[in-house]
């Protein structure tokens, strides 16, 4: 049921103001090209969901696309803070940002519940931390057999999930490999989904460690070569660690940030 369409069209079809949008990719395969297209299309009021917000959410937040952020770790990995995220939380710039804060285990399980058609997930998590006092979506649950108290989180079922993968075939079957994170869960949990890919090929040759998402479980596939930069697509590109470090300087200041976005995102067209 997947249809292969240009990126701008895919984002236009799938993302609407006010939607909840999950863009996943655990360090690897982060869908930057799609995120930039959302910024260009000027969407507002989004609930952004992502385990590790990373630079792409720093950009979306800094450009005022987000009303709410559901996350578990909002930093620039190995570098430091996400300055736009901090500025939004600490100073409400460019707009107030509501946050719903979890642990990695909590969000990962919330996606699993979403993908599984269950209303909640159970884990050994959060107990004794201050997170449940700040995140009402973390509740105790009692084992009906042992009486032990554990923790429940509600399923995440985003309006749209967006992930990046290495390849798709012409029918829209998708193949990704390397660190595959929670991408399968995010796509299966979502009402609609977009997978951007490095390339579209005639046939998906089997590969060690590859996850295949069948086309009938995806809404749109778009070709977006280099679409995960400055993250990477194993087998196609390498992580641009220098950019991650440079971002600290770019994002620290509002004007520098806006100028960079203007030049590097708003002026550019979607890949195709």
């Amino acid at each position: 049921m997947a249809t292969v369409v240009p990126l701008a069209e895919a984002v236009g079809n799938l993302v609407h103001d006010g939607d909840s949008v999950a863009m996943e990719g655990f360090t690897h395969l982060i869908p930057y090209a799609a995120g930039h297209e959302i910024i260009r299309q000027g969407h507002r009021g989004l609930t952004l969901i992502r385990m590790t917000p990373d630079l792409i959410y720093d950009q979306l937040i800094g450009m005022g696309c987000a009303r709410r952020l559901v996350f578990s770790w909002g930093g620039n990995p190995g570098v430091g803070s996400l300055h736009r995220f901090r500025d939004a939380v600490q100073n409400h710039w460019p707009a107030p940002l509501e946050i719903e804060e979890h642990s990695h285990a909590g969000i990962a399980n919330a996606y699993v519940a979403g993908a599984s058609g269950l209303p909640f997930a159970v884990l050994r998590g959060y107990r004794g931390t201050d997170l449940p006092s700040r995140t009402p979506n973390i509740r105790p649950i009692t084992c009906p057999f042992t009486g032990e108290e554990l923790t429940a989180v509600p399923a995440i079922n985003p309006d749209v999930a967006i992930v990046h993968a290495q390849r798709a075939d012409r029918r829209g079957n998708v193949q990704l490999w390397g660190i595959t994170g929670v991408q399968k869960e995010a796509v299966l949990a979502a009402r609609r989904s977009l997978v951007t890919v490095e390339e579209i090929v005639e046939e998906l040759e089997p590969r060690p460690g590859a996850v295949v998402l069948p086309e009938w479980a995806i809404t749109h596939v778009s070709e977006a070569p280099l679409g995960s930069h400055p993250s990477y697509s194993a087998g196609y590109t390498v992580r641009d660690n220098d950019f991650y470090q440079a971002w600290d300087g770019i994002a620290r200041d509002r004007d520098t940030f806006l100028a960079w976005m203007d030049e590097n995102v708003l002026d550019r067209k979607a890949a195709r």
Partner: protein
């Protein structure tokens, strides 16, 4: 091997043949805590220390990153927990839900290695926020994998630079539980791991008192004075009866560390 002159602060390198920085002492001391077995590694100093252990005394140490790589053998410490080399060199790569559910949660993993923005007398850790949650002074990255690493690894090692701002009487936010408010809390909460066994800083080593669960100073790094550690601690620090001096880094440890970091840190 000559005993090196001591590092006098985190940022000042000492001089001499086996000169080393306080951060190097900290990383080496952390690496030494890791024997064979498995280690759930956070990014940054924990990753450097775990990789150092693997290259020195613990070649069979299994490194597990939350990105889903089991048995990764990176050539250099990765910048992020999802670097490509982690997957390429791993024994197995699994999904993120699987790494947390099948591997971390059941208590299969020996040592969890954590950093901290604040740590308190009961080894509770804050990486969420400094100041009030709703009007933060500094908004930090948040929990990541830490709450469940702290709960489920058989034991936890914390690496953190010591200062009155980080070693506080009570953390502003409990992101990860050490010993809660004291003895019996972990059991009451159903946390299965034994909690922080060691807190390694740039000044020394702290360990929980078995009776009170309070962190007490057990080791001073070479050249560090007790007064300096007290001044860097935001609570009235107890010193263990048999306070010892940490063995300084060996030449082999330093060489391996510097090969890993390319001279950084």
């Amino acid at each position: 091997m000559t005993v090196s002159p001591s590092a006098s602060s985190a940022s000042t390198a000492s001089s001499g043949a086996d000169a080393y920085t306080a951060d190097e002492m900290m990383t080496v001391a952390a690496a030494r805590r890791l024997r064979s077995g498995s280690c759930f590694v956070g990014i940054g100093l924990p990753s450097v220390a775990a990789n150092l252990a693997r290259r020195t005394h613990a070649p069979d140490l299994v490194l597990i990153y939350e990105s889903g790589t089991i048995g990764a053998k990176p050539g250099r410490p990765p910048l992020s927990i999802g670097d490509g080399e982690l997957a390429e060199t791993a024994d197995a790569v699994v999904s993120v839900p699987e790494i947390f559910n099948y591997w971390l949660q059941p208590g299969r993993i020996g040592v969890g290695f954590l950093g901290a923005a604040q740590i308190d007398r009961f080894a509770n850790i804050n990486t969420t926020v400094i100041g009030p949650y709703d009007d933060p002074k500094v908004r930090l990255p948040g929990a990541g994998g830490a709450p469940e690493i702290a709960a489920s690894c058989r034991e936890v090692t914390v690496i953190v630079r010591q200062s009155p701002r980080t070693f506080v009487e009570r953390v502003d936010f409990v992101t990860s539980v050490g010993f809660g408010s004291g003895p019996g809390d972990r059991e009451r909460l159903g946390l299965r791991g034994s909690g922080p066994r060691t807190v390694i800083t740039d000044l020394g080593v702290l360990e929980p008192d078995p009776a009170t669960c309070e962190l007490v100073l057990t080791h001073l790094h070479p050249g560090v004075t007790l007064d300096r550690v007290r001044a860097a601690t935001g609570w009235d620090l107890t010193v263990a009866p048999g306070l010892r001096e940490t063995e300084p880094p060996t030449a082999r440890e330093l060489a391996a560390l510097r090969a890993l970091t390319g001279g950084r840190g």
